[in-house]
């Protein structure tokens, strides 16, 4: 480990831990009725299998629990979280020039998605989301599939919240104005 002291200095949270805490403590409220469609969760290798291998723990259960707070109907892909297939774009492959190989690799993922019958795929990773949403969908029949969302996108879209009070807004605007002045940010038409 390069910076062991960091764990003494700071609380270090994954997105799953933070979202779970927000939901558990009631800091955010979610409306499940917004996503009635059949939904499946993709497990990014780094959060699932590779966390398990490296740290003896994985995020797949938290990942599913968060989605279950936003969606009525969930279905698992075959192979379960830890033997899950990589989307095909991991390890930097989304950016690399080997498109043909990346797509042939992703066929396994596309088949898994198709077999679930799900309309909505949740991907807690930028690479995985791009590969499923912009890559696989172009080349393969994924059955009932309609869209891919980030986990935090799903949460944001499920939010039930009240706008802030006048007082909170005033305070935020004052802080914002001071920040813009410090940074020399000037917006047009504003």
């Amino acid at each position: 480990m390069w910076f062991p002291e960091a764990f003494e200095e700071f609380k270090v949270l994954s997105i799953f831990e933070l979202l779970r805490e927000y939901i558990k403590t009631g800091r955010i409220k979610l409306d499940k009725s917004k996503h009635p469609q059949l939904t499946t969760v993709h497990d990014p290798c780094n959060y699932g299998r590779k966390s398990q291998i490296s740290f003896g723990d994985h995020h797949c259960d938290n990942s599913r629990w968060i989605v279950s707070q936003c969606c009525e109907n969930m279905v698992e892909m075959i192979d379960g979280p830890l033997n899950n297939h990589c989307c095909g774009a991991g390890g930097g492959a989304w950016a690399m020039p080997y498109t043909e190989e990346r797509m042939a690799y992703g066929k396994h993922k596309a088949d898994q998605i198709k077999k679930t019958g799900a309309e909505l795929v949740i991907a807690p990773c930028h690479n995985c989301r791009d590969q499923i949403m912009k890559g696989l969908v172009e080349e393969f029949d994924m059955g009932n599939y309609k869209e891919t969302m980030y986990t935090w996108e799903l949460v944001a879209e499920s939010l039930a919240y009240e706008p802030w009070s006048e007082e909170e807004i005033k305070k935020a605007h004052a802080e914002r104005d001071a920040q813009f002045e410090r940074d020399g940010v000037e917006l047009e038409e504003w």
């Binding site: 997105i15 800091r27 930097g92 492959a93 950016a95 909170e168």
Partner: protein, 234 residues
């Protein structure tokens, strides 16, 4: 006929240890379960591990195999002998000459080193974009967030977050998902004005030095701004 290869154990470029190639039983569990098997003709995880064990390291390093393999670890998770395939194949990436690393991984890594993010977005542009998107959020028709702005370099904030540079570059509205959650949770959060990149391409390009530098920057920002919590990059 080709001369036989003699293995120079002392000067192996990929160290052999019981956890690496030498423990392999050649059972083929790795290759059977690997979605990348034969995507590079002639290569699969078992063949690559055998090649390394038998001294043909350079052939693996020069091949496309360690790059088409996504380092997903399905092989290693199933290996009955605990062979560390992920580490071994990533070491092959480390040993590739930097100017022969598939584009744009090395280029992005160096861009990040020099300018603080993989795509070289200048600080002024970044700050203006955040300010502009903040106003859009306040006035959003579907989910208005009056009072929202992006707190930049806010000392003493609870949480510091990083940004995937593809978002400010190409998909700026996608940053609003997290921002709406922070608004609803009334989180005390901040983004650093510099070195805010959340993607660490040194990990993928096989560049340990830059991998470490990038992790160090996240910590430097957290220390400079005296935050309590780091939300580690997705």
């Amino acid at each position: 006929m080709q001369d036989p290869i003699s293995i120079d154990i002392k000067n192996r470029r990929i160290a052999t240890s019981p956890e690496l190639a030498d423990a392999c039983f050649t059972c083929g569990t790795c290759a059977s379960g690997c979605p990348a098997t034969n995507l590079v003709p002639g290569w699969d995880p078992r063949k690559a591990i055998r090649a390394i064990a038998l001294g043909l390291e350079q052939e693996v390093i020069d091949s496309k195999w360690p790059w088409v393999c996504t380092l997903c670890g399905r092989c290693q998770y199933a290996c009955p002998m605990g062979v560390q395939l992920i580490k071994t194949f990533r070491t092959c990436r480390i040993l590739r000459e930097r100017d022969l690393v598939p584009d744009p991984l090395h280029r992005g890594t160096m861009m990040n080193f020099e300018r603080g993010n993989n795509l070289g977005i200048p600080t002024d542009d970044f700050l203006f974009l955040l300010a502009d998107l903040g106003v859009e959020m306040e006035e959003d028709e579907k989910q208005p967030c009056p009072g929202f702005y992006v707190p930049v370099d806010k000392e003493g904030a609870n949480i510091i977050v990083t940004v995937n540079s593809k978002e400010p570059f190409a998909e700026p509205d996608d940053m609003k998902f997290w921002w709406r959650i922070f608004y609803a949770a009334k989180e005390d959060w901040t983004i650093s004005s510099t070195n805010w990149e959340g993607v660490n391409w040194g990990l993928f390009s096989g560049d340990d030095e830059n991998w470490k530098i990038q992790v160090g920057r996240v910590l430097e920002n957290a220390r400079r701004l005296k935050v309590k919590t780091i939300l580690y990059p997705e």
